[in-house]
């Protein structure tokens, strides 16, 4: 698959940048600590380091976003297939898992449901009046997911209409990506056809 090869090549470049960048930054850190730079040098170094940090952070956010979208697609398609086995791909095995998330009743707009939910957890509304204590949404979602797994009903105050599944994908790596890149380069040089796709297929199947 062409796009997978391109992404793997990006991974290779990223890894090289990471290693050289990390080395350079570590060197600067040690030098700075020993007082080798002038104030002007330090300002310049801070400026450039910040830009590196921004770029790395932007790329991380973009990658996280793509991971999230791809995970959702995999999990939803997985749900709509009759078989529930892990997805075995050439580089990794993916195991979709799902939890139930809920929309909590609003304290002011839906006080009856809110009170019913708090009663279920044994919480006195009076203890919530000073706003120091609030329902912890992730923890309630965890509890609701466990109830769903056990076949138990939703806690009072939570409408089935206000529940929705959330998905995640556990990835178990089958191939070392660095080794795969080395194998690809080797296959590409040996094949002499100039066809990257072919070389990649050879490397994956090795």
């Amino acid at each position: 698959m062409k796009v997978l090869l391109k992404l793997l090549q990006e991974y290779g470049k990223m890894k090289a940048t990471y290693l050289s960048g990390y080395g350079q930054l570590a060197y600067i850190r040690d030098e700075a600590k020993s007082g080798k730079y002038s104030m002007e040098d330090l300002v310049n170094l801070v400026h450039v380091s910040r830009e590196i940090s921004k770029l790395a952070n932007d790329l991380r956010k973009e990658a996280d976003g793509i991971v999230h979208i791809l995970e959702q697609v995999v999990c939803v398609v997985y749900l709509t297939q009759a078989e529930g086995k892990p997805i075995r791909a050439s580089l990794a095995t993916g195991s979709p898992s799902m939890k139930l998330s809920v929309k909590l009743p609003h304290r002011e707009r839906n006080p009856e449901d809110f009170q019913a939910l708090m009663n279920y957890f044994g919480i006195e509304l009076s203890s919530l009046t000073d706003r120091a204590v609030r329902p912890h949404w992730p923890a309630i979602c965890e509890i609701v997911s466990v109830l769903a797994e056990e076949g138990k009903p939703l806690p009072p105050g939570i409408d089935p209409e206000n529940t929705y599944p959330t998905y995640s994908l556990v990835i178990r790596s089958k191939r070392d990506l660095d080794e795969l890149l080395v194998n690809f380069e080797k296959a590409y040089n040996e094949l002499t056809t100039g066809k990257e796709d072919e070389a990649f297929e050879v490397a994956v199947n090795e």
């Binding site: 709509t80 009759a82 529940t163």
Partner: protein, 277 residues
């Protein structure tokens, strides 16, 4: 609107099914085409736009078994016949088998002149699958009448048995698509979360009104039962397993044919894509 009398729709009769003596020796013929497909009854939620014939007997939000038109669950209503706010029509089911089907639907405007279903497939590699999952590709120009659009739709079908219900336990199709597609994925997720055989689980359907800017319609949310056990009893479990295997085999042979509701609702109101990737 006053509360309707549903008694006519759900009158149960016990027909005499024994073959008359003079036919006993005859070869059974004329059923070859019928054997090709299993067409289970369809669990239908009555919408405001249902046919007059249905609306004379049922009210929007009621759930019936089609084509027998037997009432499964009634939307709770006040003495004036209006739905009680926040109330839900509730019934329980045991899912036996799940399968998706992808269908290309003709527009409602061509009803009577062309078949409602242009194309149907259960092959997950069919090009229609990708089209049905993409907001941009889902609607296409009709091949011969460009003023109309055809629509590719993913239907999430659950073959279910009604649980502890007076209508008995004939397998029926509970299907989720378009505006209800997300509810279908939620049901599939709930089944997966149980980590148990699909036919061993009991779920509760909660029918309630949905709103979006284009209109409103009645939809079905699946949840664990609010009353009773979430699991089937040991007695009858083997029969459920057999039924599951029978439907799995029929699906493999492409012999299940769900009888869908013809899309006759206000298309805009119920098709707001809520399940985009």
């Amino acid at each position: 609107m006053a509360k309707k009398d549903h008694s006519q729709g759900i009158t149960k009769v016990t027909p005499n099914l024994s073959v008359p003596d003079f036919m006993i020796e005859e070869t059974v013929t004329g059923l070859e085409v019928l054997k090709e497909f299993v067409i289970p009854p369809f669990i239908k939620v009555i919408q405001k736009s249902a046919s007059d014939e249905l609306l004379q007997t049922f009210s929007p939000g009621d759930v019936i078994l089609s084509p027998a038109n037997a009432l499964i669950a009634e939307m709770p209503r006040n003495e004036k016949g209006r739905p009680i706010e926040g109330a839900k029509g509730v019934f329980q089911v045991v899912p036996l088998f799940f399968y998706p089907e992808w269908i290309t639907w003709n527009p409602i405007q061509l009803k009577g002149t062309e078949p409602s279903i242009v194309y149907r497939t259960i092959d997950p590699n069919d090009p229609v699958v990708a089209k049905s999952r993409s907001a941009k590709l889902r609607s296409e120009q009709h091949p011969t009448q460009p003023e109309y659009t055809i629509r590719h739709v993913e239907h999430l079908n659950f073959i279910v048995l009604l649980h502890n219900h007076e209508l008995g336990s004939e397998p029926a199709v509970l299907s989720f698509s378009r505006g209800e597609w997300r509810s279908g994925t939620k049901f599939a997720a709930l089944i997966r979360m149980r980590k148990a055989p699909i036919y061993g689980c009991v779920f509760e359907a909660n029918v309630s009104i949905r709103h979006n800017p284009k209109g409103d319609w009645y939809g079905c949310d699946m949840a664990n039962p609010s009353e009773g056990s979430a699991w089937v009893g040991q007695e009858g479990f083997d029969e459920l397993k057999d039924l599951h295997e029978q439907f799995a085999a029929l699906h493999k042979e492409q012999k299940i044919q769900a009888q869908y509701d013809i899309v006759d609702e206000d298309d805009e109101a119920v098709t707001k894509p809520s399940g985009e990737f």
